[in-house]
Symmetry: none
Subunit: 416 residues, 2 copies
C-alpha cells in the first residue's frame, strides 16, 4: 500500500522549522504495511494545496495531511480539500456545539471566526479530537483515502493511532515494513556497492522481499534493509538471513548490524575483555574521548584522555621524546606510536590510542597535506599504526580520524 | 519569484531522517527574493520523481533538487530529469576524466559504475563540484530554471552559493528576506520571550518590517530576525538597530549576534587577550576541548586538555588531593576548583577549566541527581565556580556543561 504525507503551514517553509510529524506518521504507517512514497510541505495557500491533493488522489492508497485546521484565515486545509474534490463545506452542528462548550468551560464566548473549525467537506467523516479543538477528517474518493490530522503532535498522534486501530490496519492487509541498519567503515560507497549489489538485488524477488538503500554519511557507509512481511517473525528471519549473506561477502568491514554506532561496538568489546582505554589526541581535539563517553556506562572502561595540541604538551604529558618530533615531525607514525605508548603507560590502561594529524584548513604541506592523520593503537603487547589521508573539512577529518582509531582497535580486538 | 525544493532519497522517507538541506537552501534563496512555495521529498523512483518534476515546470520560477547524484543504481535524479523533459543522457567526457583522476590520486581505478556520474541530460549545463565527485546541473525550460545539487551539505552549499552569485541573484530582482541570528545562553525561552516580545512586536510595522521567531535548541535560545527589504543595505541598517534594542534589554546573556557559536566567540576573546587555555574534563568527556578545537586556527590558543574519568586520573594528572575527593565527592565545587587549578598549573596556561558532574543515565543520588555539574574557571589570578543542574539526556547534559563553562569564561573575560 502506498501513502503520501502532506504537512500544511507556511512556517514550515522558513529556514527555521522542519516537519517532524511525518517521522512519527511514517513509523506507524510502515508497521501496518504502508510505504511512504512522497512527503510534501505546503504553505497556507488554498489553490496550491488543492492542486497537490487533487494530483495525489488516484496515485496512492492513503493521503495523510497535518496542520492547517486552526480557526484563523490562514488555516486552509478544509477549504483546499473542498476545492480539490469539488465538495461544498457544511457547518457541522455537533462540532460547533462542542467548540462553544469548550469556550464556555473557560468562561468565554466563542469568537465567530472559530466557526471555521466546524466546517466539514460534505461526505467527510468527522474524527473527534480528545486533546484539542480541531477535529480530524476522514474521506474516501476512488481507491484513495484521505486522513486529515491537526498539527500539534500531542493532538495528532493519539488521533492517528485511533484511526490505525479503527480503520487502517484492516485495510492494509497486514504486510508491514521492518528495518535493519548495517554500518560499515573503511570502504568507499562504490566499493561496498559493487560487492553488495549482486547480493541485495536478488532479495527483491524473495518470498519476503527486502529493499536495500546504500548511504554515505560523514564518510561512513550505511546499508538500510527494509523487509516487507505479514508479521515481525517472518521479517526477522528474512533480515537475519540477508544480513548473514552480506557479512559473508563483506566480512569485517561491517561493524554493526543493529544500528549501534562504532563507539558502542568498541565499548562492548572493551567491557567483554575487561579492558580499560586511554587516548592521546592531537588533531581530533578530544572528539574520540567525547564519542567514547557518549555511551552510557562508559566510565566502566574509559580511564582518561589527554588532548595535546601543542608539542610541549606531547612531551610533558606523554614523554614523547622531543627529538622524535624534531626528526619525524609531529604528524608522523613514530610520534603516534609514542603517544599511544605514552598514554597507556601514564594511565596504566590496557589500551592506548595516539592520534596526530592535520585537520585543516591551515597547516598542510605538499608532503603532508590537510587530512593526513597518523593513528596508533597499543593493546597490551601488540601495536598497530596507520597513516590515513582523509577528505573533507575540519570536522569531517576529525570525525573520520576518531572513526579510524576505533575501527583499528575493533579489528585488533577481534584478531582480524 | 517562486521556488520549490525537492529532496531525493528513499532514506529521507524512513522514520530516521529529515531533509535539513532545504533549510540552508531556503535561507539563501529568501535572501535574493525567492519565496519557497513547496518542499517535497521523493524516494529513489525514476517515474515518481519525473512526474513531480514535470508538474513543477511552468508553475514555479525555480526548482532546486538535492541528492540522487551518486554513482549507484538507486541514484536516479539524472534519469528522472531526462524522463520528465524527454531529453537523452549523454556521457560528458570532461566529467568522466575528472572522476578517473580523483580515483587515480588515491591509487585506485574508477569502478565502471561511477561513469553514471558523468551522464548529463542534453541541453543541461554542468556545474563543477569542488568538494566531491558528483557535478551539479543547470537547465531551463519555458519560464522555469532547474538547479540540480548533490546531497552532502559540504558539496551542496558551496555549489548553491556559486550559482546564486553567478546566475540567480540577477534573475530575482525583488525584495529579499535578510536574517540575523541572535544567540543566548543561561536563560529560559519564556524568560527571554517575556522581555523581548514587547520590543520585537513593534518591528512588524516599521518601514523595513522585521519578523521574529524564538527557538530553543539544545537548551539554548535563538532569536531569528527576518527583515524584508529591497536591498541588503536597507535590511542591514534595520537589523542593526533591532539587534541594538535587544542588546540594550537583554544585555550580556546575548553571546553572539552574527550566528557564531560560543566556541568561536570565546576563541576570539582568547586570541585578542593573547591567552592560552587548558581544560580538565570529567563528565563532558572531551566535548569542551573538541568544540574549542572545531574552530579553525584554535591551535593558536588551545594548549591541552585532559579527560579524567577515573578518580585516579584526577589525582595523577592534576594533583587533585585524594582527600578532597574523599571529603566532598568527585562531583563538587572544591574538586572542580582543584581540577581547574591543576590543569592550569600543569599546562602553564593562562586559563584553566575544570568540569565534574553526573551526565547520567546512571550515577545520580538524591543529593546530587543526574544533571548536577560543577564548573570552575581559573583565569590568571581570578577564579569562578558554579554548580548547575541540567535537564535532559546524557548528550544534552554534556552539551550544556560545555556551554556553561565557555559562558563563564566569556563573562569573566568581559569583566561581567
Amino acid at each position: 500500500m502506498k501513502a503520501c504525507i502532506i504537512a500544511v503551514g507556511s512556517e514550515l517553509l522558513t529556514p527555521f522549522r522542519v516537519d517532524t510529524n511525518s517521522l512519527a506518521i511514517t513509523e506507524r504507517l510502515n508497521a501496518i504495511g504502508y510505504e511512504i512514497r512522497m512527503k510534501a510541505v505546503l504553505g497556507d495557500d488554498v489553490d496550491e494545496l488543492a492542486k497537490v491533493l487533487a494530483a495525489a488522489f488516484g496515485t496512492v492508497d492513503l493521503i495523510v495531511t497535518t496542520g492547517g485546521l486552526g480557526p484563523t484565515a490562514d488555516d486552509i486545509t478544509r477549504d483546499a480539500i473542498a476545492k480539490a474534490l469539488a465538495l461544498p463545506l457544511d457547518l457541522h452542528e455537533p462540532i460547533a456545539d462542542r467548540l462553544r462548550a469548550r469556550f464556555a468551560e473557560r468562561g468565554l464566548t466563542m469568537p465567530e471566526i472559530n466557526r471555521r473549525q466546524a466546517m466539514v467537506p460534505r461526505t467527510a467523516t468527522v474524527i473527534e479530537n480528545r486533546n484539542g479543538s480541531a477535529p480530524g477528517l476522514w474521506l474516501e474518493r476512488g481507491g484513495t483515502a484521505l486522513l486529515v490530522l491537526p498539527g500539534p503532535p500531542r493532538e495528532m498522534i493519539p488521533m492517528l493511532e485511533g484511526i490505525i486501530e479503527e480503520r487502517l490496519s484492516s485495510r492494509s492487509g497486514g504486510a508491514g515494513l521492518f528495518r535493519r541498519v548495517i554500518r560499515i567503515t573503511g570502504r568507499t560507497e562504490s566499493d561496498v556497492d559493487a560487492r553488495a549489489e549482486p547480493i541485495y538485488s536478488r532479495w527483491l524477488t524473495m518470498p519476503v522481499p527486502i529493499a536495500t538503500t546504500i548511504l554515505a554519511v560523514s564518510g561512513q557507509i550505511e546499508l538500510h534493509l527494509t523487509a516487507s512481511a505479514s508479521d515481525r517473525r517472518a521479517a526477522d528471519a528474512a533480515l537475519e538471513a540477508a544480513v548473514g549473506e552480506l557479512q559473508a561477502e563483506l566480512g569485517s568491514v561491517i561493524y554493526s548490524v543493529d544500528g549501534r554506532p562504532l563507539e558502542a561496538v568498541v565499548g562492548d568489546l572493551l567491557r567483554q575483555a575487561g579492558w580499560t582505554i586511554a587516548a592521546a589526541e592531537s588533531c581530533t581535539g578530544g572528539l574520540l574521548m567525547s564519542r567514547l563517553t557518549d555511551v552510557p556506562g562508559s566510565s566502566d572502561y574509559v580511564d582518561r584522555g589527554v588532548v595535546c595540541y601543542s608539542d610541549r604538551a606531547k612531551v610533558e604529558l606523554l614523554d614523547v621524546p622531543a627529538a622524535l618530533i624534531e626528526e619525524h615531525g609531529a604528524v608522523s607514525e613514530p610520534v603516534a606510536r609514542a603517544m599511544a605508548d605514552g598514554i597507556r603507560r601514564v594511565a596504566a590502561s590496557d589500551v592506548g590510542i595516539g592520534i596526530t594529524g592535520i585537520a585543516g584548513p591551515g597547516g598542510g604541506t605538499a608532503e603532508k597535506p590537510v587530512g593526513t592523520v597518523a593513528v596508533a593503537v597499543t593493546a597490551n603487547d601488540a601495536q598497530r599504526v596507520r597513516t590515513f589521508r582523509f577528505f573533507g573539512g575540519r570536522e569531517m577529518v576529525k570525525f573520520q580520524s576518531a572513526q579510524a582509531a576505533m575501527n583499528m582497535l575493533r579489528l585488533m580486538m577481534l584478531n582480524i
